[in-house]
Amino acid sequence: MLVLKTLTRGAMHGYAIAEFIEQTTDDMLRVEEGALYPALHRLELRGSLTAEWGVSENNRRARYYRLTAAGRRQLGEESARWDRMAAAIARIMEA
């Protein structure tokens, strides 16, 4: 979900995605960076992302990921579910 959300900002390569997630969460969700790649490839195989080769800011060949319509739909579903779950947890904690 985080990856998908990140990609709503436009096409990005893996390093940029990792950087973005790390920065916006203030390194709270820092895991092994490599784990990002199986996730990206799985999403690509599911049709949520497409990937193409492009040139990075510093003129290197980089693989850019882009959200597909199916990916957007999936993001919608997952974030809705997350909201419900978070709300439910919040209610339990408040009780």
């Binding site: 390569h13 893996g14 390093y15 990792a18 092994e32 960076e33 490599g34 784990a35 790649y37 199986p38 490839h41 799985r42 690509e44 195989l45 599911r46 049709g47 949520s48 080769w53 990075s56 290197r60 060949r61 980089a62 693989r63 199916a70 990916g71 739909r73 999936q74 579903e77």
Partner: protein, 907 residues
Amino acid sequence: MSAWRTNTCPHIWLRLKALIHRRAFDRDLEDEINFHLAMRERKQQNLGLGADAARYATRRRFGNVTLLKEDIREMWTFAVFETLWQDVCYAARTLRKSPAFLVVVVLSLALGIGANSTIFSVLNMLMYRPLPYPQPDRLMAIWETETGRETSSEPPAIADGADWKKQSHIFEDIALTSYTEPTPLAGSGVAEQASAQFVTPNFFRLLGVSPMFGRVFTAAEAQDLTQTVVISSAYWKRRFNSDSKVVGKSFKVSGVLSTIVGVMPPGFGSFFGERLDLWVPIDAESARYSERKDHWLIAIGRLKPDATESQAQLEMGVIAHRLEQAWPATNKGVGAKVVPLHEALYGWAGRYLYPLLGAVLCVLLIACVNATNLLQARIETRRHEFALRASLGAGRGRLMRQLLVESGLLGLAGGALGTALTFAGIRLFRALAEDFPNIDSVTVDIRVLLFTLAVSFATAILVGSAPAFQAARADSNLALREGRRGATTGIAGRRTRHMLAVSEIALAMVLLVGAGLMINSVLRLQQVNPGFDPANVLRFEFTVAEAAPYVERLPGGDIERVTPLVTAFYRQLLDKVTVTPGVESAGMITPFDFERTFSVLGHPAPPPDKTPMTGFREISSTLFRTLRIPLKKGRYLSGSDLPGAPWAAVVNETFVRRYFPNEDPIGQRLLLRSSDLDEKQTRQIVGVVGDVKRYLGDRRPEPMVYTSYLQQGSDYRGGSIESHLSQTLMVRSASNLDKQATSLAAAVKKAVAELNPDQPVTGIMTTEQYFARSIGDSRFYAHLLEIFALIALLLAAIGIYGSMSYSVTERTHEIGIRVALGAQRASILRLVTGLGLKLSCMGVGVGMALALCLTRVIDRFLFGVTATDPVTFAVVGLGLPGIALVACFMPARRATKVDPMVALRHE
């Protein structure tokens, strides 16, 4: 979640792309990760770390690169299929290493599968292939049921069919058609017979078939003296050389000038695939058929699109009831029955073919058991290999899959070879079957191929699963410790092997008993005494044209009158043939006609439903002497039984037994009556002759009345004139017929041609050939079962041999000890053959029980033996263990040659 599940398609596509560009994919993955690492490394350096420190930090933060790559690569590939492919390659390699095993297993499976596919392809052609017309499932046959016999299926009276058509609302249309009938083309200058189908004009439109040229019949076309015909494409090619201007040409059919109006497309022919030259229109509403006694056309209806069979049945019941009230004389108690046309035409074939399918299934099962046995034995010897693989980390599932892949390969190889054998099998079936319906259109089509594939897979699973389970169960520790010695198999394994051998014998027993019963029947059929002397008698068939100058139609009604020319022709022909050199005598006889009832003068009239019935035939007075039918009482017909003399009749013994059990039949007067016409003149019984079989399988002789062709009425109703115009000429040769059959046939044909050049003569054969043909079905069935039983026997023998062979190898060590301890060769021989004998006796026991249950299905094909004939059972039951013993003997001899030193050194 649901979104990606709907997207499995691009996912397969992407994977395929990755599979094709595998190298590029690997490079890309490498690049992508390297890019990430490089970027991170630079950032770390920018944060002030040294080059090495930056690299380590980056690696730490990223995780295990190789593992990640593996993960991703696996995600992109078809891992399952790739290991499967590995298995296939490995299996192919190991199988190639033991060619003898491979050949035996594949050949036996191929025989089993090929036999199954052959029988299935015949079944497929007759039972499963839809009729070759549009919307065939809406085509129904409509039968009449006889009074008091609801299950009977009779062709309706033609006028009834016409009424059905008019009154039915469920059927789009109802047409009437005959089967194919030989029809003389007399008057056309060629002594040829055509094969014709008589149809109502709506027949073609109802089936949904249009002519290739011209048109089909119009409703008005069904006149008596000139008519139109539609010809088949085969006839068009054969007789008219594919002449495109054939429409409008005329020729004589049954003496009636007929004009061709259309040519049907190729592939549109008779229901049973026999020759069909032309279609002749029938007017079902003609006054000819108003008596409702003409039951020779079958009714075919096409249901309206939304109508069902049961609705049609309901409506036809109502219509039949209405007809019953309108025509009580003919239709009382007559019902109507709707049956899908396909079932009506081909439903009978199941009775022939399903027992055969059962037989070939037995053959296949034996082949499977054989293969299982061999595979199992192989696994026993490969236990070391499996144990090694298991201890190196191969999962049980993987080992089982390996074995199943092996048996799958064997099954598919068997299936492929079996398909090839199917082509040969179909050819063999055709050669044996002679005139089996539609036999020429039996082919290997997609359905047969699918069937073969399914059977191959089922075979593979059947063959492979037991050994696979056993291999998976194997205790690897034990096997490794025992090393390559391959010590005695577990008791379970041995018991399975013995059970398999027993089941093989049992299955072979069933087939052998079936074949034995059939052979027995055929032998008995060939020994049947036909009641006359068939040797040296040549027979000829001919039918005088039902048209001028021989027949004239009386105006109004359906009465036809023979002219004196007919009897003149018969008499001249007999005279001519009798004086032909080499001819001892000659006689003529008309076809068997069972439709006669009669009353005896001076006897009280029996109740109407118990009217006595008899067979009836017209003969020449010379017939009895020609066929040497024995006279039992009184006299034969003679040359003095002329039209002017009192009408005489000769009856057979069955007639006397049934109708004059306590009286002297000679001198009794009969008044004969057919359903079409009552005779006015009585016939006096002058003699009694022996019963004669019409065909060899004729179980129950019918009462018969023979009368002279010279003492017949001249008027016939409803087509019954045919029984006077169709004759079989029997010619007894003075010397051995074999040498002069051809010249005699030519002489008789010449005699006929001299009298009437247009008169075709057909069915020329010796009476022995005729009888052989009459038991063709039984012989065909016996041949097929013989072939299947022989294959089964061969496979079972191979199986026993293999099984015993293995058991000897396995027990080499034990036998060695026995020999070392002083066992005699004879006792070793007994040890092995004793086991074989025990197994085969058990197999015979089981097989006997099975056969007792199963042979009943071929009961209808048996003659003179019961399905539980003790002699057949005994012969097979004793012979089979004998063959098993022979199969055991070679392994047993090998066992006696075991050198105790060699056997013990294995230790």
